[in-house]
């Protein structure tokens, strides 16, 4: 502690222009640390981390972070509770599959972006009820998207190119001469690709929410009628939130199949997926981009930790019992975190930062 708070001091950093006042990271140390983390994240894991770490932990973490950012834009910033995330991710995955098999020469990056757009259009469609209904009524209504879309992909064989197994498989695709998808792609290449996507889109999201669009989302979230009176157009604002959020989820869904699973059927996008991403957003912190990262890390790490912990301390138990205990601990921890800090991990981080600022004087 002794050194850290001396370094993490913002005294003397004056904001002399509007531009510096509105910077994404107004504190110099934050800027340095974020850039450093980004550089390290791009360079170190591909060289150092083993196959297991990349495949089982880092790649899903990056993909789910992207999905969590997407849902956070909709639920955390615009205040529209959605349980259709899994469905929108499926739209992304299936349209990426259709696009890349129909146009094999199309760059995989373009394919991902286009499938995000397709998901955005579908999201717009299912966002229309949000103009009439709110809160839990809306949440249940978005379940319609979840169930209908999954059913559609199951029933219509065209989406899987008439594969008898009903699965979609990521074909072999290269980017700048490196294989990034398909069975031969190395974990490192897929990791870098996922990281690049989530880094760019996190930056875009951060910019969205501090600009005009983000402010109108928050106005709608906090007091929709008041927002309408001061001139925020609810139709445009809400639909935009649904569209952009679905875009993020769609890209994440495409990545889930192409960069992580390799092949998947609709089961990979069922209702549990929607809840999983919602957990990440709420545990991480509603209305916080940082929270989406923290939440995704927490929710993904917890089961891995719980699975390995009994082995580590030398306990042996039956698989069934272990799974039940895992469920109980998982549920218990969610309750614990909500009670201790209902505003999520991002808020804990903020409190820590405030404390650090004032240290060693508490007032």
């Amino acid at each position: 502690m002794g050194r850290l708070e001396v370094i993490y001091r913002e005294a003397g950093q004056f904001k002399a222009t509007y531009a510096s006042d509105q910077a994404i990271f107004p504190i110099v140390q934050d800027r340095v640390v974020v850039v450093a983390i980004a550089v390290v994240a791009f360079v170190v894991p591909p060289l150092v981390a083993g196959e297991y770490w990349l495949q089982a932990i880092l790649i899903p973490f990056l993909i789910y972070t992207l999905a969590a950012i997407g849902l956070n834009l909709l639920t955390g910033y615009a205040g529209q509770l959605s349980l259709g995330t899994g469905g929108f991710m499926a739209v992304g995955a299936y349209s990426a599959f259709k696009l890349t098999t129909a146009f094999p020469q199309l760059s995989i990056v373009v394919v991902f972006l286009l499938s995000g757009l397709v998901a955005a259009v579908i999201g717009l469609g299912f966002g229309i009820p949000s103009l009439r209904i709110k809160g839990f009524y809306l949440a249940v209504a978005t379940l319609a998207a979840q169930f209908f879309l999954i059913w559609l992909f199951n029933k219509v064989a065209w989406f899987t190119n008439y594969a008898s197994s009903g699965t979609i498989t990521a074909p072999h695709r290269t980017l700048l001469g490196v294989t990034v998808t398909g069975p031969n792609a190395s974990a490192a290449a897929r990791y870098v690709m996922a990281l690049a996507f989530v880094a760019v889109f996190a930056l875009v999201a951060k910019n969205l929410v501090r600009g005009r669009i983000g402010r109108s989302w928050m106005a709608i979230r906090d007091r929709d009628i008041a927002a309408e009176i001061i001139g925020v157009r609810p139709l445009r604002t809400k639909l935009l939130a649904f569209g952009i959020s679905s875009f993020y989820c769609g890209v994440a869904g495409a990545e889930l199949v192409f960069l992580y699973l390799g092949s998947a059927e609709t089961l990979a996008f069922d209702i549990n997926q929607s809840f999983l991403v919602l957990f990440m957003v709420i545990i991480g912190g509603l209305g916080s981009i940082l929270g989406s990262w923290l939440g995704a890390a927490f929710i993904l790490m917890l089961p891995i930790l719980l699975t390995n912990l009994p082995h580590a301390v030398g306990l042996t138990m039956s698989v069934a019992l272990q799974k039940q205990i895992e469920l109980m601990v998982f549920g218990g921890l969610i309750l614990f975190f909500l009670i201790v800090e209902p505003h999520g991990l991002a808020r804990l981080w903020q409190i820590g930062k405030e404390k650090l600022r004032l240290w060693p004087f508490p007032h």
Partner: protein
């Protein structure tokens, strides 16, 4: 084009008119299924009415109640005693939930409480299976699962019993809410927490009562569903079936849960039988949601929901 219009708009009705007995059978099936959904939806409504909490764990509470009951019966406990013990367990659960979940989270936003019930959902699922085991169990409450025929229409005895039970339960609950002292207090709390507190209604007690009643409703639902399809994990998924019923009927309305259940049950069965084959079947999963969604566009507060009055 003409063929499609014919297949969608004409042929199903022709089928209906062709064999009225079959239509009646489908309708009755829908009514029974609907009442079963209503049983689950009732638990949601009770809790939402009194505490504004959207209790996602209701489905798992049904499973938990059924598991406890079956577990006790398997150990040779007589039926009446087992029922009483299960009720006691559900009441204890209500106390625990009030003490460890609701009280620390009082005054938090709805979404936080909703999330907490999802946490509860996981916890109870693990806990129930750890106590009683995860394998499928048969629940035999002495009502045979056989059918009798009235004027060419098949009626399942078990489903009939469930329907009568549901109707009875709703009448009892309606009386409880309208006539008793606690029922009035419940309605007062639902209306305005602070005002209720200021005239001396103990909020904590009310919450325990409501969660206990929801627990008892869960026992009944678990009993009926368990007798029908065995006690297993999938029982907790019927909660998802109850959600469209809720938004159709309105979150705050007990009669709404019943009427909503009937509409969803009948709509689902009729849709599946007459229109399902056109799109390849298995539409039961989403049909209820789309039906409810279309309905909500016309009436955002549901059938019997309280009118939404918004002020700045």
């Amino acid at each position: 084009m003409v063929d499609v219009v014919y297949a969608v708009l004409v042929a199903p009705f022709k089928d209906m008119a062709g064999s009225p007995a079959f239509l009646v059978e489908v309708l009755i099936g829908g009514v029974f299924a609907g009442l079963m959904y209503s049983l689950v939806a009732l638990g949601f409504v009770l809790i939402f009415k009194a505490s504004g909490v959207f209790n996602f764990a209701q489905g798992v509470m049904v499973l938990f109640a059924a598991l406890t009951l079956v577990g006790l019966l398997e150990r040779g406990v007589p039926v009446v005693l087992a029922l009483a013990l299960t009720t006691a367990v559900m009441v204890a659960l209500a106390f625990a939930i009030e003490r460890f979940v609701l009280r620390p989270l009082v005054n938090q936003e709805h979404i936080i409480l909703f999330m907490a019930t999802i946490g509860l959902n996981f916890f109870l699922e693990g806990f129930g299976e750890m106590l009683w085991g995860a394998n499928v169990k048969k629940l035999d409450i002495g009502i045979p699962d056989r059918s009798f025929v009235v004027r060419g229409v098949q009626i399942n005895e078990l489903e009939l019993t469930a329907a009568v039970t549901a109707a009875l339960l709703v009448t009892l609950l309606a009386m409880f809410f309208q006539k008793t002292r606690i029922g009035r207090a419940l309605r007062a709390v639902a209306d305005d927490h602070e005002a209720a507190l200021s005239i001396g209604i103990p909020l904590k007690t009310i919450w325990v009562v409501v969660w206990s009643v929801a627990g008892v409703v869960a026992i009944v639902a678990g009993l009926m569903w368990g007798a029908k399809s065995g006690v297993q994990f999938s029982l907790s998924l019927i909660a998802l079936k109850a959600l469209p019923v809720l938004i159709l009927g309105g979150f705050e309305s007990v009669p709404g849960a019943i009427v909503g259940g009937l509409i969803i049950g009948i709509g689902e069965k009729v849709g599946e039988v007459y229109w399902g084959p056109l799109v390849g079947g298995a539409i039961e999963n989403w049909f209820a949601y789309v039906l409810a969604l279309a309905f909500l566009l016309a009436r955002p507060q549901g059938l019997f929901g309280e009118k939404i009055i918004e002020r700045v």
